[in-house]
């Protein structure tokens, strides 16, 4: 009973912007580990093969080291790997693949599907119908020829493609590299393994996007999985199991703070996140000086706890209460300055005024603390 692992969109060689250097490096490292995890899962689930549906590399010109490390990471699974070029690593005249071959980095058991056609895995009884991208962008359906491909009797017909299934994915997704939604049926496929969409997504009974094994964006849902596909015999319905592979969970929260309890709830939710979280917070609304102090303290704690925490507070106004002001003991003209900044911040949504107010409040608090000592 043939069984294989379906994965895609490793995007190796990507560096992460918007993170501290150290965090970015850890996220890159996690992606290499994800490949090792895939190999390990393939072994655990006694898979016959691993199919990678495109975008193994994020770019054509990644370093030799990255190329070698990617293939090294596959060594855990000694069965056949069929690797398909996607739009990021298309099989151009000169490509990351030709370089990998020149480097001698590609192990024997890794089949590179650089030409459209069928790769028959005799021992496993699998015919892999491959639709590699050989140009950066294609506007025709590269899986179209699948219907014409003949496969040995009794072999499963497994399609391997990279692109957008027409009419099913959100409009904003790049409409290049289209794939007909009824491809599996039209080309008599037992299963169509797709890549390009970074979240795990089922299109129909036989058509799936595996998603990326390690999340690398905030926006993808259901990222960080691989699919184990089991087809009892040609024509039978595939049994698809989604396995978690991701190390880090990416969370992006947009929160509006209005009253103090909003802040409390936010901090509680933040507390429940695991340490492996990568968090992007964007706060709006307003907060009192005391509230901000609480927030800053909580963020400082969270920063240390999570893999990465970033908080965008420029949309969050400071709204000092009378008590805040009294606590600051901002008398005389300093009090006037506080008031003036408050007005400016509220009136014109003035970021500079907000920052100035925060700085002033900080200085006054420090002074109070000194006096207190």
């Amino acid at each position: 009973m043939p069984k294989f692992l379906h994965t895609a969109d490793w995007q190796m060689g990507r560096a992460f912007t918007r993170f501290e250097t150290e965090d970015g490096a850890a996220l890159v490292e996690a992606r290499f580990e994800a490949i090792e995890t895939l190999a390990q899962l393939a072994n655990e689930h006694q898979c016959d093969a691993v199919l990678v549906a495109g975008d193994v590399f994020d770019a054509q010109t990644v370093s030799d080291r990255t190329i070698r490390r990617v293939f090294n990471a596959t060594r855990g699974f000694t069965g056949p790997w069929v690797v398909l070029p996607g739009n990021h690593d298309a099989a151009l005249a000169e490509s990351v693949w030709t370089r990998a071959q020149r480097l001698g980095a590609v192990p024997e058991n890794v089949h590179l599907a650089l030409q459209p056609g069928v790769i028959d895995l005799e021992d496993q009884g699998l015919s892999i119908l491959c639709a590699p991208l050989t140009q950066r962008h294609t506007y025709g359906d590269l899986t179209e020829p699948f219907s014409g491909y003949e496969t040995p009797e009794g072999f499963l017909r497994i399609g391997l493609a990279h692109g957008s299934v027409q009419g099913l994915l959100p409009d904003e997704i790049d409409s290049t590299n289209p794939i007909a939604p009824d491809r599996a049926e039209a080309s008599r496929l037992d299963y169509l393994a797709l890549g390009d969409w970074h979240g795990t997504k089922q299109i129909d009974e036989r058509t799936w996007y595996s998603g990326t094994p390690e999340p690398e964006r905030f926006r993808n849902n259901e990222a960080g999985n691989a699919l184990v596909v089991e087809v009892s015999e040609p024509g039978a319905n595939p049994k698809v199991t989604s396995l978690p592979t991701g190390r880090y969970q990416w969370h992006q929260w947009r929160e509006t703070l209005a009253v103090h309890s909003d802040l409390e709830q936010l901090l509680e939710r933040l507390n429940t996140l695991p340490e492996s979280a990568v968090v992007d917070l964007r706060l709006e609304g307003s907060v009192t000086l005391a509230g901000e102090e609480t927030l800053l303290k909580a963020l400082s704690v969270a920063e240390a706890r999570f893999r990465s925490l970033r908080c965008e507070r420029s949309g969050l106004q400071l709204a000092p209460t009378d008590e805040d002001i009294a606590a600051l003991k901002a008398d005389g003209y300093v009090g006037e300055v506080v008031e003036s900044l408050r007005e400016r911040q509220e009136g014109a949504q003035d970021d500079v005024a907000r920052d100035a107010l925060a700085i002033l409040a900080g200085l006054l608090r420090e002074r109070e603390q000194e006096v207190g000592q």
Partner: protein
């Protein structure tokens, strides 16, 4: 605040308790000589307030040598309608107690209460210094520091402002200035004075630009890499296609075909050339035969020509011979005419010679006659000249001497006349008959005589009368007269004349003779300029020539008058003409003779030629040759026609094969083959190049690098944005704080200015003193004088310092704050007038504030209107009481 009583004990020289009592609410004048303890009292008040009771830095309070002392100060004062008593002990017994009405404070609480009341602070450790003194530092003036107001105001700064809050509302800020400084220093780590980034901020800005440039460069390289990849794809495709289709082989085939066709045409062209050569030989042969034929046929035509030439030569000869008699006739005529003309010319010459000689004879005769006349006249003029010369010789007289003589004569006359006037006049009228004898001269009748000399008048009969003319002058006149007469006589004698008149006449005659000589000489010279002899010789010569001409004339034969003789010129011209005609005739004759002989020669030659040809023309060999040639010619012409037809056919065949296009085809196909192969080779080479290049570039991991650079740029940019926002925020904050603080200062300035003006008007009626932002007296102006207070004299600065302090005191009092003014030996540098004004000011201020004025010059303050407190006597009393 009114200090009522102070008591000190174990403090410097006040080892025993000392009480200063009955202090007045207004002015208090405390005096005593040096060392009497004035400064100790001031120090005691300061220590009571400023020094921490537990301070170990107040050893100066200890009486000298008394290590067990506990310096104690006790102050009673009234403030805010309450009674305050402060008791403070230092060193051996550290204590502080403050009783306010019914409330009691002790230790630190007591001290804090006081500091808050008066507005000062304690040092963190050690002795209290000026910067801690706050408001009292301003109002309590130590000896010799009255002028240093700026420092005191700065130290009072925040205390003043907070103290003055009630004046201007809640505007001042506790610690505001420190805050401003903090904000400023934080801002200055990010921004320069002009708002440009500095430090990390600036570095980030630079880094950001650097990253941007590097990213740009990387992107450019990635772009190039991708272009190369695309190029590689296209090339590989083209290369494979070309290898499959092999288009150069088609071209090669076409090339071969074209070559075969061209070779065929070339063969045709070869044949064509051979036949052309044959034809050209035939033509050459034909031309030679034709020439032979023409030559043979030409003999008869030549013979006719020769005959015609012979006839013409004979005709010419006979024509020439016919002309011979006429030419000979002309020659003899010309000779006759020449001889005639020669004869005529000789005759004409003879005639002309005669005519000339006759003319000469006539002319010479005339000449001779004129010369004879001239000679006669010349002789006559010569005679006249001789006569005139004779005359001149006879009458020669010196004109000068005559002139002198004339003068002497005149003088004598004048003298004579004068002598007559003075002479004795003797007139007589004698009776008839009667006579007298005067000087032996007989006088009769009637007369008169002038007498110049002694005279003797004999009157007959009577006797003799002597007459002597009177006067001396008469004598001199007579002498002069006599001299003149002698002189005249002498001159006359010299000149050889009788009288003056005669001299004059002779002179006139001499002069006229001179004129005659001149006239005659001129006439003579006009006729005989070279003299008479020359004239005679001329005449002789003319006569000789005349004779000779006559002889010649007679020797010349006389022409026959009947003969018509032309003029000589005419005859000579005719002679020349006849000569020329003769030359011509002779020359014509010679020409004719030579022409004749030439014509004869020509006629003989022509005859010989004609004879020779006539013989040849008639020979049988010639006839045979001519027939042979004609036959050969016909044969050749037939061959030629056949060849030309063949050539034309082949020419058409070649033309239709278009050899030039065939050549171009060959070239074109050859090029195509080369080019197609070359293109493929180039592709192959470029493929290799690109592959090598891409391998090298690919190894750099450009996009991964780009990714990393972008990550770093992003981070740098984030940090930059943070600092940017922070810089802007700090800038804004600093501006706002400064602005508000300035606004506050401006609000405080006004009331202070009011009080300052109040005092200043007493001291300098027309002056003004501005208060600056730090509430310090700044610009001082008086009339046109303008300057900072620090530029004034020491005395004036001290006065200004004092009134500024009083103004502050007024301001503080209005704010409900305690105001105690302590002046330690102040105003010692003021002159008496100023001191007088300052006393009025102090008196005025004392109506609002308690003032303690310590001095060692009580005399200066006699007129202050308050009883002075004599420290010395108080001390004595204290001892007495003890």
């Amino acid at each position: 605040m009114k200090l009522q009583r102070m008591r000190i004990e174990q403090l410097r020289q006040f080892r025993k308790p000392f009480v200063l009592d009955n202090l007045q609410p207004g002015l208090n004048l405390i005096h005593g000589p040096n060392e009497s303890g004035k400064s100790t009292l001031v120090r005691a008040i300061r220590a009571a307030f400023f020094e921490r009771y537990r301070s170990t830095a107040v050893d100066d309070l200890r009486p000298w040598g008394d290590s067990a002392a506990a310096p104690t100060i006790e102050l009673d004062f009234e403030h805010d309608n309450r009674v305050w008593r402060l008791t403070k002990s230092f060193l051996q017994r550290k204590r502080c107690d403050l009783v306010v009405g019914t409330e009691t404070y002790s230790e630190d609480d007591a001290e804090e209460k006081l500091a808050e009341l008066l507005g000062y602070q304690y040092p963190k450790r050690g002795a209290s210094k000026a910067e801690h003194w706050g408001i009292p530092g301003l109002l309590w003036v130590e000896q010799g520091t009255g002028q240093d107001i700026e420092q005191a105001i700065e130290h009072a700064g925040d205390h003043l402002k907070s103290a003055l809050n009630s004046m201007v509302g809640e505007v001042a800020s506790s610690g505001g200035d420190d805050l401003i400084e903090t904000v400023r220093s934080q801002r200055d780590t990010l921004l320069t004075g002009t708002g440009k980034p500095r430090g990390d901020y600036q570095q980030l800005e630079k880094d950001r630009a650097l990253y941007e440039r590097e990213i740009g460069e990387l992107k450019e390289r990635v772009h190039k890499y991708q272009e190369q990849v695309d190029r590689l794809g296209k090339l590989a495709h083209d290369y494979d296609q070309a290898e499959a289709e092999r288009p150069w082989e088609d071209a090669q085939r076409q090339l071969e075909e074209a070559r075969v066709r061209y070779q065929q045409v070339e063969r045709l062209e070869q044949q064509q050339n051979q036949e052309k050569a044959t034809l050209s030989q035939l033509l050459q042969n034909h031309r030679l035969l034709q020439q032979n034929k023409e030559h043979l046929e030409g003999l008869s035509r030549q013979l006719e020509g020769r005959k015609a030439e012979l006839d013409r030569a004979e005709r010419d000869l006979s024509t020439a011979e016919a002309q011979t008699p006429m030419i000979a006739g002309r020659l003899s005529e010309a000779r006759t005419a020449y001889e005639q003309a020669e004869k005529q010319r000789k005759l004409a010459g003879l005639l002309q010679t005669r005519q000339r000689l006759e003319q000469d004879v006539r002319r010479l005769e005339q000449q001779k006659q004129v010369l004879s006349q001239n000679l006669a006249k010349a002789k006559e003029y010569h005679q006249q000249l001789e006569q005139a010369r004779q005359q001149a010789r006879e009458n020669r007289i010196d004109a000068e001497l005559v002139k002198k003589l004339r003068a002497t004569g005149n003088q004598l006359n004048e003298e004579t006349i004068r002598s007559r006037t003075i002479a004795t006049r003797l007139s007589w009228q004698l009776d008839a008959g009667a006579s007298l004898t005067l000087n032996d001269e007989s006088l009769t009748g009637q007369g008169e005589q002038q007498l110049l000399e002694e005279s003797t008048l004999v009157i007959p009969g009577v006797g003799t009368l002597g007459i002597t003319p009177g006067g001396e002058e008469l004598a001199s006149t007579r002498r002069k007269l006599k001299a003149l007469e002698e002189d005249l006589e002498e001159q006359l004698k010299t000149l050889g004349v009788e009288s003056v008149q005669q001299a004059e006449d002779r002179l006139s005659a001499f002069e006229s003779a001179g004129r005659a000589v001149k006239h005659a000489d001129e006439l003579f010279k006009s006729l005989a300029p070279a003299g008479l002899e020359q004239l005679v010789s001329d005449q002789n010569e003319a006569e000789g020539e005349l004779e000779k001409a006559r002889t010649q004339l007679e020797a010349t034969p006389k022409p026959d008058p009947q003969e018509d003789v032309p003029a000589l010129e005419e005859a000579e011209a005719a002679f020349a003409r006849a000569g020329t005609a003769l030359d011509k005739a002779e020359s014509d004759e010679r020409v004719h003779q030579s022409s004749l002989s030439a014509l004869k020669q020509a006629r003989d030659n022509a005859k010989t030629e004609w004879q020779r040809l006539a013989d040849e023309e008639k020979s049988p060999e010639r006839q045979q040759q001519l027939r042979q040639i004609t036959a050969d010619l016909a044969n050749i012409e037939k061959q030629q026609a056949e060849l030309e037809a063949s050539l034309e056919r082949r020419e058409r065949e070649i033309r239709e094969a278009r050899p030039e296009f065939l050549r171009q085809d060959i070239e074109r196909y050859q090029n195509a083959v080369n080019q197609l192969r070359q293109t493929q080779e180039n592709r192959s080479r470029e493929l290799r190049d690109i592959k090598v290049r891409l391998e090298a570039w690919g190894a750099e991991g450009l996009e991964e690098q780009l990714n990393e650079q972008e990550a770093e740029f992003d981070q740098c940019n984030r940090r930059y944005q943070e600092l940017h926002r922070r810089a802007q925020a700090l800038d804004l904050l600093l501006n706002l704080l400064t602005e508000k603080r300035q606004a506050l200062t401006r609000r405080l300035q006004a009331p202070l200015q009011k009080h300052l003006n109040h005092y200043l008007s007493v001291l300098f009626p027309e002056a003004s003193l501005e208060v600056d932002e730090q509430l310090r007296p700044g610009t001082f102006s008086r009339g046109s004088e303008l300057g900072q207070i620090t530029e004034l004299s020491f005395g004036a600065r001290e006065q200004m310092g004092l009134i500024s302090r009083l103004a502050y005191a007024d301001l503080l009092r209005e704010a409900g704050r305690p105001t105690l003014v302590i002046l330690d030996d102040t105003l010692v540098h003021s002159d008496s007038d100023r001191l007088e004004d300052m006393k009025r000011i102090l008196f005025d201020a004392a109506s609002r504030h308690q003032i303690l004025l310590f001095t060692c010059h009580p005399g200066n303050w006699n007129d202050l209107g308050v009883p002075p407190i004599d420290l010395q006597s108080l001390k004595v009393q204290a001892v007495a009481q003890a």
